[in-house]
């Protein structure tokens, strides 16, 4: 609790002037359920991350009214969408009000002429696409959390899409949105100020500023999205290699080939294959000389995808690839969202199965630096594992960030035995995260391609990554959130207020 019980009563009393009673939640279950996120955290410290209450607004005006009250009473506000983020954006660090946007889930318009839709930000992409499919359309924002993440969370994290090399990522797919500022004012954000404009050169380009801020600059409430024809055909071949070097070379060649329907290529390293071989039924029977894997994905009309597939298949064959067969290729691609739905386990060093939560680092790394970063990251996680069975190296992926092959979302997956995550192990982990981020920066990368970088450890290096840009972040935060009520404690943004001691 960061505010006293009396103050909670005062806040509730004020909120009930703008919301119905069923929209203001104060019970333990309501609060505990809104403290949960998938990123591992010590079980014994979860009480540090509880909100004091939660609200369920149904309109932009209701969100604005809640934020105005919070700003007046100096109570922290934490926006929460699907709660699927991996950098704790939706986690309250100082209690306060969680604004749960799930009831902002209406489809307001499907504009077939301009190929857009306008939705409340509380809708999931899966439910939206079920409706769009009736019109032969799709909103192709496809994170691993696709079935359960919400449009607003994608805006708040400036999310990354598994098929972003074909369709772009969230920042490319969201045309504009209504946004409640930390003062409770309502702002429309877009290219220029239009709702359905894809390119404007009028004034400052504010859209990127209000995406990826992890809820520190306000709450998106209604968004207009770019739509595409639902693909007629999908092709997702998986190939096996007997060494990482050939798989790496093949991945680069696939990404550089300039195939128009190319939606992404994925490189799995030796550690990832070893993990799959011990715990994934598709790979358990694979021969021991399978040491690395590559997958490529294409979407489009069949008469585009088929020749594209031939070109990609030829490139793979020229690099020594072995096609893994239709069942694995199709099944593994369709299973790309599983990590959000499947109970996971890892192993102690003695080989015993233990329940583990999944964590992944997600740097952006240039293609030519992937092998070096891969080596250095595994060394950091190996050092962790030597010290405790709490951590298990589940291997690395590298996914194309775009369609030219310049950089990759570079991911190391670490199983974490969350129930055993005591203060010592957590400190080891935070130090390791700092080390992983430092490696990314030393190779000219970014700490995060997808999740954001405001968790303990990595966040310490954000000023190093952004340089003077971090100072601009502080200036903007202070200007837009004068009382530091919006998701306080994230991204070291408290430093914006150190001079005058303002804020919550």
């Amino acid at each position: 609790m960061t505010i006293t019980a009396e103050r909670v009563d005062q806040v509730v009393e004020r909120l009930l002037r703008v919301l119905r009673a069923d929209q203001v939640l104060t019970s333990k279950a309501d609060r505990y359920n809104r403290a949960r996120v998938p990123a591992p955290f010590p079980v014994h410290r979860w009480a540090e991350r509880l909100p004091d209450l939660a609200v369920l607004p149904e309109t932009t005006e209701e969100v604005a009214a809640v934020v105005r009250i919070a700003n007046e009473l100096l109570v922290p506000v934490v926006p929460r969408d699907g709660g699927t983020g991996l950098t704790d954006g939706a986690v309250p660090l100082r209690g306060g009000i969680v604004v749960d946007v799930k009831r902002l889930n209406r489809i307001h318009e499907i504009d077939l002429g301009n190929r857009t839709c306008t939705v409340g930000t509380g809708i999931s992409m899966l439910k939206l696409n079920e409706e769009l499919a009736r019109h032969g359309l799709i909103y192709p924002d496809d994170p691993a959390s696709y079935p359960c993440s919400l449009v607003g969370g994608r805006i708040g994290t400036s999310g990354w899409s598994l098929i972003g090399s074909r369709y772009g990522h969230t920042r490319d797919l969201v045309l504009s949105f209504d946004h409640v500022l930390p003062t409770g004012e309502i702002l429309h954000v877009g290219d220029g100020i239009g709702r359905k404009i894809t390119k404007s050169s009028s004034g400052y380009q504010l859209k990127h500023l209000f995406m990826g801020h992890q809820g520190t600059l306000g709450i998106a409430t209604r968004a207009t999205l770019k739509l595409f024809p639902k693909p007629e055909a999908e092709l997702s071949p998986f190939w096996a290699f007997d060494n990482y070097a050939d798989a790496y070379a093949c991945t680069g060649a696939l990404a550089r080939a300039g195939v128009a329907t190319f939606a992404g290529a994925v490189l799995f390293d030796e550690h990832k294959v070893a993990y799959l071989r011990r715990d994934d039924e598709a790979y358990i029977p694979q021969p021991q000389d399978v040491r690395a894997l590559v997958c490529a994905v294409t979407y489009g009309y069949e008469d585009e995808v088929r020749p594209a597939g031939r070109r990609l298949m030829r490139i793979a064959r020229d690099h020594g690839a072995r096609y893994l067969g239709d069942e694995i290729s199709e099944g593994d691609w369709a299973a790309r969202h599983d990590r959000y739905a499947t109970p996971l386990h890892g192993r102690t060093k003695a080989g015993q199965v233990v329940p583990m939560s999944w964590h992944c680092e997600d740097a952006s790394i240039n293609y030519t630096n992937l092998p070096a970063v891969t080596r250095e990251w595994h060394a950091i996680v190996a050092q962790l594992r030597r010290q405790t069975d709490v951590f298990d190296d589940w291997g690395m992926f590298a996914y194309t960030n775009g369609n030219t092959g310049v950089d990759y979302l570079t991911e190391i997956d670490v199983g974490i035995w969350e129930q055993r995550l005591d203060d010592r192990a957590w400190e080891l982990w935070v130090r390791a995260k700092r080390d992983l981020a430092a490696v990314s920066l030393s190779y000219g990368g970014s700490i995060s391609a997808c999740h954001g970088s405001c968790r303990e450890g990595e966040v310490d290096l954000v000023p190093d990554e952004l340089g003077r840009g971090f100072g601009v972040m502080l200036d903007l935060k202070r200007a837009l959130d004068p009382n530091n009520i919006m998701n306080p404690g994230k991204y070291h943004l408290d430093r914006a207020y150190e001079r005058d001691g303002a804020g919550t």
Partner: protein, 101 residues
């Protein structure tokens, strides 16, 4: 519909070892070696029908996901077979050089 017989449902096929850490019982069904699930996570006993239901449901889920994102799935094996019959669009492009970068 066959009658439910407890003994039959709790007698899966004799397990075969497929790796140092895994066994198989039904076709395409793999399990962690029970010796590795004796301390922190214990294996649970499922009747055969439930084991097979879980496996088959998995396929239903994957089929659903394919249909959700595209009307049809092209098979890589077909594409691979077509490689020996190149069309005009299949000449190697400048980005396809082996080992570039």
């Amino acid at each position: 519909m066959s009658p439910y017989r407890y003994d039959e449902q709790h007698s899966p096929p004799e397990p075969e070892r497929v790796s140092e850490v895994a066994i198989t019982t039904f076709e395409h069904l793999y399990e962690v070696d029970p010796r590795l699930m004796q301390r922190w996570v214990l294996q649970q006993t499922f009747p055969n029908w439930d084991t097979l239901r879980i496996m088959n449901s998995r396929h239903d889920h994957l089929d659903w996901m394919h249909a959700h994102f595209a009307t049809k799935v092209l098979q890589g094996s077909e594409i691979l077979a077509e490689l020996d019959e190149p069309g005009p669009l299949d000449q190697p492009g400048p980005g396809a050089e082996r080992g570039a970068g």
